[in-house]
């Protein structure tokens, strides 16, 4: 445990509880391994799919535009190349406004002496509007406004007020530190790509996918870490599912971060189509009520279904919705864990709300 005369009590307490929880997990009966997909088969499937989809995206293919998954993603990939760049220079800001909802278990700023043993003190869903100005080389700002609160019971509403929980309309702002020239694109070394490196990333879906799922590194991992491979197979059902989860997370995370060059955006839409398990569910509405094309992916280890809603005409990411697929960890099956809409975005030189392109 951390030195008791250095660390806050909550850090020491959490450390002890974390240790006990981890040991309990390790002692629990393990899930049975499922069928293993060999690396060679995985790469062969991915390569074949990449060739076909690359041909479609390059406009050379025919007879494949009815591909249920590729079509909206292919359209978004082409649309991305037609959009003006929203990739800022290091001394500019990328501005974005989002609206999101979140269960209160993940909220901050609540002091709750009424926390009951074994559960959170209050249950609510917060709707927040976030204005964010982020820059590689300048101090940015994030301003959060609580737009609404929804409580599951009248008792919760009373407890919230008694414990001085945030009120609708309240606003908080804080500085975003400069990232010292780094961009948080999750292709390669996360959080450490410079502008030049981002611009030098490949733009073809196949090449991007190969960077996310590097054959040689995976082969080395399989040879050198059989115990970890077995654990990943137990957690994800198969190594194929683990690799797919990893690749999907990396791309979704990069889209969420916002600023990227048009060619990279285009390539990433195409790369999404290469990931096994990504499913086209047709159209859906985001939190703000806008309709867009929707794709989903289920992470079998974390039991989360992620839905990306986008406009295939403009490539704009409209919203992200995450739903728990299993009752566990405080969430009920089918419960929306997070719901986020992207409302406006722009590149600006100042910490003001610019005339923005409204998304969709």
């Amino acid at each position: 445990m951390p030195e008791s005369n250095d660390m806050p009590t909550i850090v020491q307490t959490f450390g002890a509880e974390l240790a006990a929880a981890m040991r309990a997990v390790e002692r629990a009966p393990k899930a049975r391994n499922r069928t293993r997909v060999t690396l060679a088969a995985l790469v062969a499937i991915s390569a074949a799919t990449a060739v076909v989809l690359f041909a479609v995206l390059a406009g050379h293919g025919s007879g494949l535009t009815s591909n249920a998954l590729a079509d909206p993603l292919a359209r978004a990939a082409r649309a991305a190349l037609r959009q003006p760049s929203l990739f800022p220079h290091d001394d500019q800001y990328y501005y974005v406004r989002t609206e999101g909802t979140q269960p209160v278990g993940m909220s901050i700023g609540i002091s709750s002496p009424d926390v009951r043993a074994g559960g959170p003190g209050v249950t609510a869903t917060e709707t927040i509007i976030v204005d964010r100005w982020q820059s590689a080389n300048r101090i940015g700002v994030q301003r959060t406004t609580v737009a609404a609160l929804h409580f599951e019971s009248a008792d919760d509403a009373v407890a919230w007020k008694r414990n001085h929980g945030v009120k609708p309309g309240s606003t908080s702002s804080f500085r975003l530190p400069r990232s010292h020239g780094a961009y948080y694109i999750d292709i390669g070394r996360y959080g450490q790509l410079t502008r030049r490196q981002v611009l030098a990333l490949p733009s073809s879906p196949a090449a991007l996918y190969a960077r996310l799922v590097p054959k040689k590194a995976i082969a080395r991992f399989l040879r050198r870490a059989p115990a970890q491979v077995r654990q990943l197979e137990a957690e994800y059902g198969s190594l194929k599912h683990y690799i797919a989860s990893y690749a999907f997370d990396a791309i979704a995370s990069s889209f969420e971060q916002g600023p990227m060059p048009p060619a990279l955006r285009s390539g990433l839409f195409g790369a999404l189509a290469l990931i096994p398990g990504v499913t086209n569910i047709g159209n859906d509405q985001d939190l703000a009520g806008r309709t867009g094309a929707a794709i989903t992916f289920t992470d079998p280890h974390h039991h989360i279904l992620t839905e990306l809603i986008f406009d295939p005409q403009t490539s704009a990411l409209l919203g992200i919705r995450q739903t728990s697929t299993r009752t566990s960890g405080g969430f009920k099956a089918g419960q929306v864990v997070e719901n986020l809409s992207y409302l406006n975005e722009a590149v600006t030189n100042h910490l003001t709300i610019p005339h923005t392109r409204e998304l969709h």
Binding site: E26, T98, G100, Y190, G191, L340
Partner: protein
């Protein structure tokens, strides 16, 4: 090297403070910093099979990679995820006053306050008032000008000068990138 609970506990014992400091300096909010630190280590255990290093140094770098990812998510979404904490069946209580102050102390936030206070003390009453109305009360420049009985141009100039003075007072506290 596969990580197990003992490894994560050992890494927590040695590096929880560093990770907490990392978050506190970047969010300037002790409660958020504690939440993020806890979620980072919980996620490190939940995703331990993803670690591909072979030594402690690599494990520490991997944990800071998770930390940066969590920070990015927090900045994008405005809230702290607690998925891994909840997956492990854990809860994080609220921060007591002594713990709050201790986190501020660890992050050097107190020195920032002192620097800001020193900067504010250098300002004239007129500049301090303009800054208060603009930054704390978030008034627009026209409102500020009306409140102070000055032109909008003068209002902008006073706020700008006040911010420059504060920036100069705190510039020695800007730090280079943390642990990779």
């Amino acid at each position: 090297m596969a990580l197990d609970s003992d490894d994560i506990s050992r890494l927590y014992a040695v590096h929880a403070g560093d990770v907490l400091r990392f978050f506190a300096r970047r969010t300037l909010q002790p409660e958020v910093a504690v939440d993020l630190m806890a979620e980072t280590f919980a996620q490190a255990f939940v995703d331990r099979a993803r670690f591909r290093g072979s030594e402690d140094g690599a494990a520490v770098a991997w944990i800071f990679g998770i930390a940066r990812n969590q920070l990015g998510k927090y900045f994008r979404r405005g809230v702290v995820e607690r998925r891994s904490i909840q997956k492990l069946g854990l809860q994080l209580g609220s921060l007591s006053d002594p713990d709050y102050e201790r986190v501020e102390e660890l992050a050097g936030l107190q020195s920032r306050r002192i620097a800001v206070a020193a900067g504010l003390a250098e300002l004239s009453m007129a500049h301090r008032e303009a800054l208060q109305l603009r930054v704390v009360e978030e008034r627009s420049y026209p409102e500020l000008a009306r409140a102070l009985g000055i032109t909008e141009q003068t209002a902008r100039a006073r706020v700008s000068r006040a911010l420059r003075t504060l920036a100069k007072a705190t510039e020695h506290l800007e730090e280079s990138p943390d642990h990779a």
